[in-house]
């Protein structure tokens, strides 16, 4: 007797339908074989399936069982085919009809209960798009897909419950989609902006970066507060929209970053990988390519502390994905594309010892060492960074003195950031952009019309600071964000003048 159960396989962010064909032969020696290019986890599932059925007090047929995962030439991995295989066998034993238009996904535990699997979110989205009516998933994973509308989600606790349901002895209610707001308004950063003393210019730069999605580089002596500022940035990032949340959750689900019982990603990711990271770790890769840090930071922040310490090859591999917002990873067996639109937050010391231009401590580096250190970051890389921020040393006296100056909290700043972002969304509704930082030259020509006096300032600044064409566009993009923060339709003189403070400052311009 042949039974066909529908399941799915993920490859990158793409999902394909997999037919799990279970044949139970009436002749031949008892046995259990799986064909269809499964990896170790798939071939091992026969032991899990067998034991789970036996432990659920259901007879396991002493017959020749053959399972085929079609299409048979696509490599399959993971434990999600446990449930469809078991279902095929149960159908032979208990004689029910498998629900039509349904997808089954789940890993079996030896006691017959269902366990969480990787990539469930992608499969549920796929099922909905392909017009499937029902999806049967492990009950523990149901929160992950609870926002997907238009498909009946059946949470299954264990094999016996499913058997009782399919033989019409009990009822399982499909999940009711909760309509509550997706956005999480709580500020979840390690530090609040109000905790940071001084550094007004840097805080302002964070606000601009968060509003316009600009990449930024902080340079300052050790202990000046670079890391603290970057961590506080997480608290002023604007809320994740529902569309963005879906994009991010897809990546997190595909890479197995959503644990059992985990929900959709609601806040913007903040990733801070260590500088010993490999380029595969950053970009993504593996035989079956997994998302790297840049994709995990999609719609969020990628914080690279000690920017100069990363191997040059690793940093240079960032260039193309940063420009395109997507990264294609090609391996011999697979080619996948992951999105990667993130804010690059980088911090660096000014020299190897760290105390260049320190008011009290002396720098012990030679000019040659400093030059070499600063040149570790290539020109094209610096060109992709919109905001260059100098982080001065904060004097200890200032930290200890009880000044009564009220500093702004992250919550207040976030409100302004959100407002600026709303303006940008309105502006870009026909352009498939979300942030000012993503504007290309044609968008700048369209949305950043400069008045005569602003043009004069740009020209003068260009001459004085030896600005390239690319830095000219960067200045205008930043000025656009500053104008948005101000709620101004036009870019005014003071907006552009302020943006000049964040221009790149070359070490030597001979």
């Amino acid at each position: 007797m042949l039974t066909r159960v529908i399941s799915a396989a993920n490859c990158g962010l793409n999902t394909i339908q997999v037919d799990v064909e279970v044949n139970i032969a009436s002749r031949g020696l008892p046995g259990f074989d799986i064909v269809g290019l499964g990896n170790k986890a798939v071939t091992e599932s026969k032991e899990r399936v067998k034991t789970a059925i036996v432990n659920s007090d259901i007879n396991f047929p002493a017959r020749k069982i053959t399972v085929n995962l079609a299409p048979a030439d696509v490599p399959k991995e993971g434990s999600l085919y446990d449930l469809p295989m078991a279902l095929g066998i149960l159908k032979y034993v208990l004689d029910f009809s498998v629900p039509e238009n349904s997808i089954f996904v789940g890993e079996l535990s030896l006691d017959g209960s269902l366990r969480h699997v990787r990539g469930l979110f992608l499969i549920a989205l796929f099922a909905k798009e392909k017009g499937f009516k029902n999806i049967f998933v492990p009950a523990v994973s149901v929160k992950e897909i609870s926002k997907i509308k238009g498909i009946n989600i059946y949470p299954i606790k264990n094999l016996s419950q499913l058997a009782l349901f399919l033989t019409d002895q009990i009822k399982i209610e499909p999940l009711i989609i909760s309509e509550d707001d997706l956005a999480d308004n709580s500020v979840s950063a390690e530090f609040d902006m109000s905790e940071i003393v001084g550094q007004e210019q840097a805080k302002r730069a964070m606000e601009i970066a968060a509003s316009g999605g600009h990449n930024f580089l902080m340079v300052g002596t050790p202990g000046a507060g670079k890391t603290m500022l970057a961590r506080a940035l997480a608290g002023i990032l604007p809320n994740l929209s529902e569309k963005e949340s879906f994009e991010v959750t897809k990546i997190y689900s595909a890479s197995g970053k959503i644990p059992a019982g985990g929900e959709m990603v609601k806040i913007r990711p903040f990733r801070s990988p260590h500088h010993t990271m490999s380029s595969v770790g950053l970009i993504g890769g593996g035989t079956n390519p997994m998302p790297g840090e840049i994709s995990l930071a999609h719609r969020g922040v990628l914080f690279l502390d000690e920017f100069n310490e990363y191997p040059r090859s690793v940093l240079e591999s960032l260039r193309q994905p940063m420009e395109d917002g997507v990264v294609s990873i090609s391996r011999s067996r697979n080619r996948v594309t992951y999105p990667c639109r993130f804010i690059l937050a980088a911090s660096a010391n000014p020299c190897p010892c760290g105390y260049l231009n320190h008011p009290k401590k002396d720098c012990v580096c030679t000019p040659r060492e400093i030059e070499k250190y600063q040149k570790k970051i290539s020109g094209p890389m610096l060109d992709r960074i919109d905001l260059h921020i100098n982080i001065p040393v904060v004097e200890i006296e200032k930290l200890t003195s009880k000044d009564n100056v009220k500093r702004e909290s992250s919550f207040e700043i976030k409100k302004r950031v959100q407002k600026a972002l709303d303006i940008q969304h309105k502006r870009f509704k026909n352009d498939n952009l979300s942030f000012n930082a993503e504007m290309k030259n044609k968008h700048i020509k369209k949305y950043c019309k400069l008045s005569e006096s602003v043009k004069q300032i740009v020209l003068r600044a260009g001459k004085m600071f030896h600005m390239s064409a690319r830095s000219y566009f960067k200045i205008i993009r930043v000025a656009r964000t500053i104008a948005d923060l101000d709620g101004s339709y036009d870019i005014k003189d003071n907006h552009l003048a302020e943006s000049l403070q964040y221009r790149i400052r070359y070490i030597s311009d001979d």
């Binding site: 001084g198 007004e200 001065p392 004085m464 003189d493 403070q501 001979d510």
Partner: protein, 291 residues
């Protein structure tokens, strides 16, 4: 093209010839002209130039150059390069004394400036031939030349234990006139200068101090300040805070009590107007506004 001159020839720098143990042979590029060493001032200073030292160089060197003083430096990073640069930018012929073989461009970083110096009829001189790289023992030999080749020496910035201070001590020993720029007594990078002043170096507070030694009166009048009348009130406030010290953007904003975004815009505009300038995040007044 490399040429050489021996100590028996007339072209050999006269003051150097009087020093015991002077090099027998000098190698040079450019035009060796005795007039380059008349009315000449050797400028030395720290490799790690502070914002203040840059301000001093910008203030003093152009006025000296425009009044016909020849500038000699060791072409080292920091103060010396900065001094050479401002002289070369004004089209003056300057002298650079190298610690390496005459055919080596040192520091390689400043190759453009090196070529410009030669274009301006300047002189590059060394006691070493060939393409030898600079070694530490060569520096100390070069330092003797720096200390004695001219009548006067200006120390822009020197810490307590430094090459710069050694050169200055040597110059004092050889009865050269030594000028030193006073710095803050709390600053390590000026301890050497202060020590020199105690030991008989002359304090420099304006270019005139040096010009009067050369018996030249300033033809170019730098003292006339640009007018501050057309400044707005807040610009005047920023201006007057910067009159006393160099300040970062945060410090200016705090002192004037305005939000940082307004302050950023104002300071940018003032920089574009040429009123103030910035070095390593610290703002200071442009030289034409310093009295």
């Amino acid at each position: 093209m490399v040429k050489n001159v021996s100590s028996s020839q007339n072209q050999y720098p006269k003051l150097l010839k009087q020093v015991k143990g002077h090099p027998q042979m000098l190698f040079f590029k450019g035009k060796l002209d005795g007039s380059l060493f008349e009315n000449s001032l050797t400028i030395v200073g720290s490799r790690r130039m502070s914002a203040y030292a840059k301000q001093v160089v910008d203030l003093i060197v152009p006025e000296l150059v425009l009044n016909g003083v020849n500038i000699i430096t060791g072409f080292t990073y920091g103060c010396e390069i900065e001094a050479s640069k401002s002289a070369i930018e004004l089209g003056a012929s300057t002298v650079a004394i190298m610690p390496c073989g005459i055919e080596t461009v040192w520091p390689a970083y400043h190759k453009n400036l090196y070529n410009k110096l030669l274009e301006n009829n300047g002189l590059i001189i060394s006691e070493f031939s060939g393409k030898t790289n600079a070694q530490s023992w060569m520096f100390s030999k070069r330092n003797i030349m720096l200390a004695t080749i001219s009548n006067a020496l200006l120390v822009v910035e020197a810490s307590e234990k430094s090459n710069t201070l050694e050169i200055a001590d040597m110059a004092l020993k050889h009865k050269r006139k030594v000028f030193a720029v006073p710095g803050q007594i709390t600053s390590n990078s000026f301890k050497g200068c202060l020590k020199l002043i105690k030991n008989g170096a002359q304090v420099v507070s304006c270019a005139g101090d040096i010009l009067s030694f050369f018996k030249v009166s300033s033809k170019e009048n730098f003292a006339e300040n640009k007018k501050t009348n057309d400044f707005s009130d807040i610009e005047k406030q920023i201006f007057s805070s910067l009159e006393n010290q160099t300040m970062s953007l945060d410090e200016i904003a705090k002192q004037i009590k305005i939000p940082i975004n307004e302050c950023s815009a104002l300071v940018s505009m003032m920089q574009l107007k040429g009123i103030i300038n910035e070095n390593n995040g610290k703002y200071f007044l442009e030289k034409s506004y310093v009295n």
